[in-house]
Symmetry: C2
Subunit: 352 residues, 2 copies
């Protein structure tokens, strides 16, 4: 089976509602940029590459609505769409990368009629979507080679098909390794507070009959100490120029534990996740989400009234703890300022 | 206010039902050893010292029921009570310590009429209970001196009044520091899967107006990295002869992170928590609990069918990561085989 995280249905963007998986399978229809931004903010759709793709479609939807208008009106509408989408979530850079790519195309066509610009923007959003799947496939091939035949692989959060246009980044590597005949089993951190691991990673793996063992986040250290983990692989929301990786809260703890136990810690992320303007992880904004995500889950509250709450949605794992970053262009072993720069500039040269 | 984790009410053992706190305040009445064992197993009462006290009362309740019987019948009844209680939970050694203390008293009175033995056993259970509160008060005084004036203290699980006869071990240190005029604030790990931190520690601190910030377990590393934590203090379920500490799952991860950030990691536990027959943490049995604790919470399930689950209830923190162990007799700095042996033998000599 293939998970369709998002697709165009009757001209609108249809998203799997990831807030209710796996107990319910529902979809949300986004008809314009504002609805798409709200779906990103409320985590109907989440995962850095998926957010980027959804945002690109959000621009395309808004452009279609305004198609046929005079350019100044069309352009003003689009400008607002970009603002709304850019304000939806702060940490994943793929969002800004996708918006920037859409903006570049738009601003390059200063004299084109708005309906033609709208058609180009729609085509570009589809290209971003298709390229993401291809990137995940390429990452899968590069990453699968790093996993041993019977690797028991810990992952945190969901960097799967649901977090991307398809196949997944971290789970894409696992899928590709399984396709290559390896006997991979997965240990999934449940990933409080949103439980992406328990709900989404577990669901994806069960669908594909890849053995998956669910643990609470605080069990990962004990599992490593017990010799039950051979490798860790996670996705990323933003990678700084020095190889520091912002990813789902808790990733840093897993990386520190992996280092203590000499377990390789891998990050799988497309080049669109790199933010070379951020010198290090310190420059990456960390989203703080609402308290009610931590005091309970959905409609169930278990913490007492009067308690304060911290809810940082991401943390930064320093490059020194990362064995390799896997991109669609290959593997950056021992990431640092030099290896990241070399990889990104080689990738750019190959592109042109 | 004072939390009455357990008390004798109309001759029975009344326990606060810690499974439903803080949203409901209910009590469970245990009339005999079997009901007490079931309350321990199902975590109506939890926390190593509290389990020890409850088990002692369980023996006393059963002895009262059999009081007046001929000794062989009385003794057989008691033997069964010890078996049932010893099988309730495996990791916290205070359970076995309390049962052993009750057994010693019983077997020393080979020729005494059963009603007199029952009275002695009841008196002994009360003594264990009262001594636990006194030990926590003493630990509080020793431990409070280790905390700085404005310390922001992370704790994991609940080592509070609810985990003991009263005052608490780790939270007892915090309470004593506050009583001594220190401006302590608490960061509470929610402590999946049973959520003792979110439900019990947060509740105890809110009751006493000690500022408490709730976080998901996977946020502790980020908080430490951000400079938001000055010290860590936790309780213990069993301490080996070399200073290795078994405590609630996740403790090990916190200790590894604290070491990385040069944050002192303290353990507060009475001498009844030491198991000198265990050479190291490797000798401590780790309880595996049921899968449904991890796939959801109470009646809410969020993981998909078909997922495997690991649910170790405890982990072992090696002594090398522990700055000090605080007992009722003082502070063991840099615990190891020698310092633990010296502390325990000095405590024993003082006792006689």
């Amino acid at each position: 089976m293939s998970v369709e995280t998002m697709r165009i249905e009757n001209g609108f963007l249809q998203l799997i509602d990831q807030r209710v998986l796996p107990l319910a399978f529902e979809t949300v229809m986004c008809r314009n940029a504002a609805e798409t931004a709200e779906a990103i903010r409320s985590m109907v759709v989440r995962g850095a590459p998926a957010i980027g793709c959804a945002a690109a479609y959000g621009v395309a939807l808004e452009a279609r609505i305004a198609a046929g208008q005079m350019r100044p009106i069309f352009d003003a509408t689009l400008e607002q769409a970009f603002s709304i989408l850019a304000a939806s979530r702060p940490t994943a850079v793929n969002l800004f990368w996708a918006l920037e790519r859409m903006r570049r195309l738009w601003t390059q066509q200063g004299h084109m009629p708005s309906d033609e610009v709208a058609a180009l923007l729609f085509h570009e959003a589809c290209a971003i979507f298709e390229e993401d799947i291809a990137a995940n496939r390429a990452m899968g091939a590069h990453g699968a080679a790093l996993l041993t035949q019977d690797a028991r692989v810990l992952t945190h959060c969901n960097a799967g098909a649901l977090a991307t246009a398809g196949h997944g980044t971290a789970l894409g590597v696992i899928r590709s390794a399984v396709e290559a005949g390896k006997n991979i089993s997965v240990i999934a951190d449940e990933t409080r507070p949103f439980l992406q691991g328990a709900r989404l990673t577990a669901w994806e793996m069960v669908q594909e009959k890849i053995p998956v063992t669910l643990i609470a986040d605080n069990m990962a250290g004990h599992m490593m100490k017990s010799g039950a983990i051979d490798a860790v692989i996670v996705g990323a929301d933003r990678i700084a120029a020095n190889g520091d990786v912002a990813n789902k809260i808790g990733t840093y703890m897993v990386a520190v534990l992996a280092a203590r136990h000499n377990i390789p810690f891998y990050v799988a992320a497309p080049l669109s996740t790199f933010d070379l303007s951020a010198a290090s992880g310190d420059a990456i904004p960390i989203e703080e989400r609402s308290a009610d995500e931590v005091t309970g889950f959905r409609n169930v509250r278990w913490a007492p009234e009067g308690v304060l709450v911290a809810n940082p949605a991401f943390d930064v794992t320093p490059a020194e703890l990362i064995a390799a970053i896997i991109t669609e262009k290959g593997v950056i072993s021992r990431p640092d300022r030099n290896t990241v720069a070399a990889h990104c500039s080689a990738a750019n040269m190959n592109k042109t």
